[in-house]
């Protein structure tokens, strides 16, 4: 109620509030349109492919699906994929932690160059990552003749696959840990030194508990790429069935042989791995955010 004057003021205030709101957010129609566009785009490019993998995997029935993932060549591809990951993941994790310790805890000349060099494999095409090892260890490569004389096979054999995968996944853990450890500083570690703790003890008791989610995050991404790498491995593997075939290569072979359902059956296992990776990633991001909010 009130006098006409106060009514007038209230009315104006409302007007100002209204125009402020309309200047701070989009009209409802625009908002709905944008959400619709985003959903349509993600649906077409992410949703449909995800559904299609599983739909195609089971298109010829459960029998074909289980036969495809349990036959001998598939089992050997799964075993090789696990073996490659079991070598690459610990190696690159160890490297990532060491690199992050040296870079985040100390100041030295050439540090930013070193950080750029560590990220280098991200910029190299997967095919080229395979090619460089063929040029080194292939029959016509730098060490080709020597290796052949000593009967050591690297290319078209498992060591080549491990090397190419290690190259491709080289930066993952370091890339996660360096900014994280730089942000955390070294005060806690310095306090531990002054209390008489040794190097390894400091790392285990202080640093590791501070970086554990970031470290796991990096390892999860590293593992997904190590198991899923296709281009680099394809160049060095030679596609020997039952011997140098990883799961992504096995998918390709089956597909090219027009065994579509079998190809998608093996592909669906890899898609499942991708989904687990995404779930773990989201969980770890949430944990890190909560930590960041508290500490």
């Amino acid at each position: 109620m009130g006098t006409p004057a106060t009514q007038e003021i209230a009315h104006r205030a409302q007007g100002v509030a209204f125009s402020r709101a309309s200047a701070l957010e989009e009209p409802t129609l625009v908002r709905r349109l944008l959400i619709g566009l985003a959903l349509a785009f993600l649906g077409l490019f992410l949703g449909l492919p995800l559904v299609a993998v599983f739909a195609n995997a089971f298109s010829s029935g459960l029998g074909v699906f289980f036969a495809a993932i349990t036959e001998r060549d598939a089992r050997s591809a799964i075993a090789l994929t696990l073996l490659v990951a079991a070598i690459c993941v610990p190696l690159n994790t160890l490297f990532g932690v060491a690199a992050a310790w040296a870079i985040a805890k100390f100041d030295f000349r050439g540090k930013s160059t070193l950080v750029t060099l560590i990220d280098l494999p991200f910029a190299v095409s997967p095919v080229i990552s395979g090619l460089i090892f063929v040029l080194l260890f292939g029959l016509q490569g730098f060490f080709g003749r020597w290796l052949a004389a000593h009967d050591v096979r690297i290319i078209f054999a498992i060591p080549g696959i491990v090397l190419a995968t290690t190259f491709i996944t080289f930066p993952f853990v370091a890339h996660e840990l360096i900014p994280l450890m730089e942000e955390q500083g070294s005060e806690e570690e310095e306090a531990a030194v002054s209390l008489g703790a040794g190097g390894f003890q400091i790392f285990r008791r202080v640093t590791l508990s501070n970086i554990r989610f970031g470290l796991l995050f990096g390892v999860v991404l590293l593992n997904a790429r190590a198991m899923g790498e296709f281009g680099a491995v394809s160049v060095v593997s030679g596609h020997v069935r039952g011997y140098t075939n990883t799961m992504p290569l096995h998918v390709e072979i089956l597909y090219n042989e027009y065994q579509s359902a079998a190809a998608f059956a093996v592909a669906s296992l890899l898609a499942l791995l991708a989904l687990v990776t995404l779930a773990l990633k989201a969980l770890l991001e949430w944990k890190m955010q909560r930590r960041g909010g508290v500490g």
Partner: protein, 277 residues
């Protein structure tokens, strides 16, 4: 020697960790990459130019760079919309969608390749809708663009999200209180704030697209001069034991990638400086 290099610190382990870092970096990354350049140097200028300027190689470069550019452009538009919607609006299923954005990172490229091919081929869910309209995707250059759009999507969204999140609401409030409309605020205040991040995301998606192999080779059809991408040409030449040709094609691709990496680093430096101001 470490003492001359580093500033004083009470923490242990500098020599050990840096020593390991440098040796491992040299062994796995630097020496193998250097081998590529040594091989190129051995080629001789004439052979190198002949390999790189042959019509088939030029056509492959044109397709790889063109399709990567087109894919990155599509992602710049839709990636911006997706990032904007995920940061600013609330709607059911948002968190799942947010997590799903990284699918192209997590899904092996051969799986992505056969799946996109199945979707966009004549009998596929999408292809069967598009084909009667006269749009052929699988086994055409458009198929390459589709695959590279899929692969590049997370780069734009994930680069933009934190920047959109961190834009100070007071900036928008100030613009509004000065009488700017929503569109004006968006164009004059928000666009300048996220433009470096958008460009970074675009460049990252482009760089990834240029070198991409697995997701493309299934949907492309791989016809020389028409739908053959540069990375595939490297593989083909290797299979024919034409190491020299493969090396020449690869070095050009690699030099472009490194130039892009430097540009991206500079852009990210710009973004960071802007944040500090």
């Amino acid at each position: 020697m470490p003492i001359a290099l580093k500033q004083r610190s009470v923490l242990p382990g500098f020599g050990l960790t840096l020593g390991f870092t440098l040796s491992y970096l040299a062994l796995i990354v630097l020496i193998p990459l250097a081998g590529l350049f040594v091989s190129t140097a051995r080629l001789g200028f004439g052979q190198f130019v002949a390999a790189v300027l042959s019509p088939r190689v030029l056509a492959a470069y044109r397709l790889s760079f063109g399709a990567a550019l087109a894919g990155a452009a599509v992602n710049a538009v839709f990636g911006l919309i997706v990032a904007w919607v995920l940061v600013r609006y609330r709607f059911p299923g948002k968190r799942v969608l947010d997590a799903l954005v990284d699918l192209p990172f997590a899904l092996p490229t051969s799986v992505a390749g056969i799946t996109l091919t199945a979707l966009f081929s004549k009998n596929g869910w999408v292809g069967s809708v598009l084909e009667p309209l006269g749009v052929k995707v699988a086994y055409t250059p458009l198929g390459v663009v589709v695959a590279l759009t899929f692969i590049g999507l997370p780069f734009v969204v994930r680069t933009l999200q934190p920047v959109l999140q961190d834009i100070d609401p007071e900036l928008e409030e100030a613009a509004a209180s000065l009488g700017a409309g929503r569109l004006q605020t968006f164009l004059r205040v928000l666009v300048p704030a996220f433009l470096p991040a958008l460009l970074t995301g675009f460049a990252l998606a482009f760089a990834r697209g240029v070198g991409e192999y697995g997701s493309v080779v299934f949907i492309a059809g791989n016809m020389p001069m028409r739908t053959e991408i540069a990375p595939l040409l490297i593989v083909t030449k290797l299979e024919q034991y034409d190491y020299a040709g493969a090396t020449a094609v690869a070095v050009v691709l690699l030099v472009v990638s490194f130039a892009l990496l430097l540009a991206i680093n500079a852009l990210q430096g710009m973004t960071r400086r802007r944040e500090e101001v």
